[in-house]
Symmetry: C3
Subunit: 339 residues, 3 copies
Amino acid sequence: MTQFQGSHILSVNQLDLDAINTIFNVATQMTPYALRQKRTRVLEGAVLGNLFFEPSTRTRVSFGCAFNLLGGHVRETTGMASSSLSKGESLYDTARVLSTYSDVIAMRHPEPFSVQEFSVGSRVPVINGGDGTNEHPTQALLDLFTIQKELAEANRGINGLHIAMVGDLRFGRTVHSLSRLLCMYKNVTFTLVSPSELSMPEYVLSDIEKAGHQIKITDQLEGHLDKADILYLTRIQEERFPSQEEANKYRGKFRLNKGIYTQHCKSNTVIMHPLPRDSRAAANELDNDLNSHPNLAIFRQADNGLLIRMALFALTLGVDTQLKQYESPVNWYSRKADF
Amino acid sequence: MTQFQGSHILSVNQLDLDAINTIFNVATQMTPYALRQKRTRVLEGAVLGNLFFEPSTRTRVSFGCAFNLLGGHVRETTGMASSSLSKGESLYDTARVLSTYSDVIAMRHPEPFSVQEFSVGSRVPVINGGDGTNEHPTQALLDLFTIQKELAEANRGINGLHIAMVGDLRFGRTVHSLSRLLCMYKNVTFTLVSPSELSMPEYVLSDIEKAGHQIKITDQLEGHLDKADILYLTRIQEERFPSQEEANKYRGKFRLNKGIYTQHCKSNTVIMHPLPRDSRAAANELDNDLNSHPNLAIFRQADNGLLIRMALFALTLGVDTQLKQYESPVNWYSRKADF
Amino acid sequence: MTQFQGSHILSVNQLDLDAINTIFNVATQMTPYALRQKRTRVLEGAVLGNLFFEPSTRTRVSFGCAFNLLGGHVRETTGMASSSLSKGESLYDTARVLSTYSDVIAMRHPEPFSVQEFSVGSRVPVINGGDGTNEHPTQALLDLFTIQKELAEANRGINGLHIAMVGDLRFGRTVHSLSRLLCMYKNVTFTLVSPSELSMPEYVLSDIEKAGHQIKITDQLEGHLDKADILYLTRIQEERFPSQEEANKYRGKFRLNKGIYTQHCKSNTVIMHPLPRDSRAAANELDNDLNSHPNLAIFRQADNGLLIRMALFALTLGVDTQLKQYESPVNWYSRKADF
């Protein structure tokens, strides 16, 4: 039994290195099930409450699929309109009622700290699937897990890593949470590339410095990427800006394509992005001409998200040691994926 | 085989005391499965069509989860916009087509008697999940089941019950259906507390009187609750009023909190509410200061709803006697709930 | 192993007579499972990604139920609003990410050829559930399968068929795809009944002629139906017209009811319609007075859709020969349906 059994997963702040290694260890064991090389029915009969009070297709489907792959059923809700929350119901009441209907809950909500508030009323473990501008811990975990796996290909660990974070570092909660996780490792170098209006918040910088890591700040993409092991690009989220005109000012200024990559990066620099990316011609932040490049890890990130979410379900429900016991072969056609 | 096998559940009027006792008996047998002490796969391979042409998160999820807990799959639809009904399709056609896709249907629809109309075209049993201002029979059943269970704690039955119904008794279909069910018992006293504009309809009063029960009518909460075994509060549903101003007039006038409860009720009076309740400070109809009171049964009502719905699926599909045959232990972490 | 294993089903153009017969053969084997006479768990543990970027209740539920009936889980998404597609994500990216989460995908999308574009990025088989004005291949297959089954009742095959297609032949993609499939058979007569503004497109007519079949074109329903074995009615889709006034002009002009049927058709003419039909009094295109007529095949079409979709899942996932191996009896009440 791990510390996770029966616990909520609300924030990366509740995790130490031991906890992270436990999650990554279980996530790795999930690979054959996610690849459909084998199947497991370890959660057959269990029910996930997949509560997306803010819509998010890919995260919702990823949580739901992760639970199905462990053999469980999924009940879902999407959006606020149909919800009693819009009639003045408290998150406590919602939690007391809806948590009766499931064994574990994954929840997204537009309000910061709403998932935490909900968890107080919940009778079952709650996993934060994103609470507004606050946190999205499974994204941070899948990013870190991807970094670890990509570096392991080159027989390296996370200690000593050089990461360049590019784009909207002010509003992008993924880079905040990832930075916090990286602070637990040793001797990390952060190159932070953004327009000055969208620079990394002070409290994140302060955390990085306290942890003894190195920071380089710039507003130029070119000339600052040559030492990076990981290039983490983020979308300039246009809905954050007061107007479309304001948003347009930054379009394309922090754009990566094959030419820039080849000229300015090491040959083994890994390219990451939390997705979705804007693939329209004018807006491209990460060009399609890198789609078949082996160092492009953006789809492997999504793959790893499935593994992380499977691991968190197995850990919070305490079945991480029973996976093989409920295992059986896959009897249908399954494609070879590149996890 | 019971009378329920292959039958529709459309109205509380189709139920007599024997039928109700059968449902409650099966619902009680569902408790260990709902509490995840055991699981059953009695409906593995069966499909529920969970058709919510009017959105309702908690009722929809409760029906869906109830079916999952019996081992079955759930297919859902929410809202009218995406439905062919908006293109002039008849409920008969919709029923003929959608009932091919499932073994049983739970349906909510904004139009009174629409579920009944749908059931004519359906090839499988249809359970009414609420048809506008008409009926919501599973709510009435879970309310009655809760009353029976709460009174049983004090070694009492429903005969001789004193119930106080408070709030909007005119538009609240839950109190109408519950009253009708209580008419089948003996020697019940109804204290009806509402503003005169929202008083209990004549036809309900007439039914209660014909059944030989006692009625007390008042528009004052205080001073009329001291004999009540059950205090059934209802939300003043603001969307029923012509304007928000009209609605505001009644805000807080039939509000229960710890002070009023302690002063005006017996120490074992059970507090019920169909939920959701409005928990905003100004609007509170049932204050949060009673949240941890042992007599507050509002969340146990929701729990009992799960049991009732599981029972109705088992009965209409004729598997109520097979539950144990498909039983197995639960192998994951499960919280202790307070059913 | 068939040619279908691991393949996309995007268009009727990719199918020859052998392929069609393979599909129909497997669809026929699905009948006892769809009728709940038996169940099969052949796809237990598999996940369907049911991606309806354009809403369609009946087609979505039909795909999802078909997968459940084979024992698999279903993850769904409905509409575009909540999707990253609206933020400029390419179909390639969407496909790369979402196809990680499932073993097979059924997809509907409003843009012609979008499903094909999506399939390029998908790691798993994609089945086209309708891509705008382009194709809806499972509808065409279920229509053809229905024709074959209905004619088989009279000991006939499709060769030598006389079919009358009525209504909106210009925008109705179902009649285009069905015509293309019928071209593979021998000696078919097409009677095409529509207002001239809504007549069959030239490229379809040209295909029919090249295949050596006979065409009769008219704008009058009465007097042209007496030789038809199959009467295929289509809805005049009012949303295709520039205005409601324009749409109203055609209301009721191609309407079938019991009187017209009895007077103008052979006694064994089979009535088909892709549904939904507009059942409002003024708009009726196919009157309810034929609802209990044994030759009305419109609900059998929907039933057959379930069989076709089950067959396509079994074929693309290569489990069509394993159905019986995972079979078990049905232990719950199941209605007799008229497949």
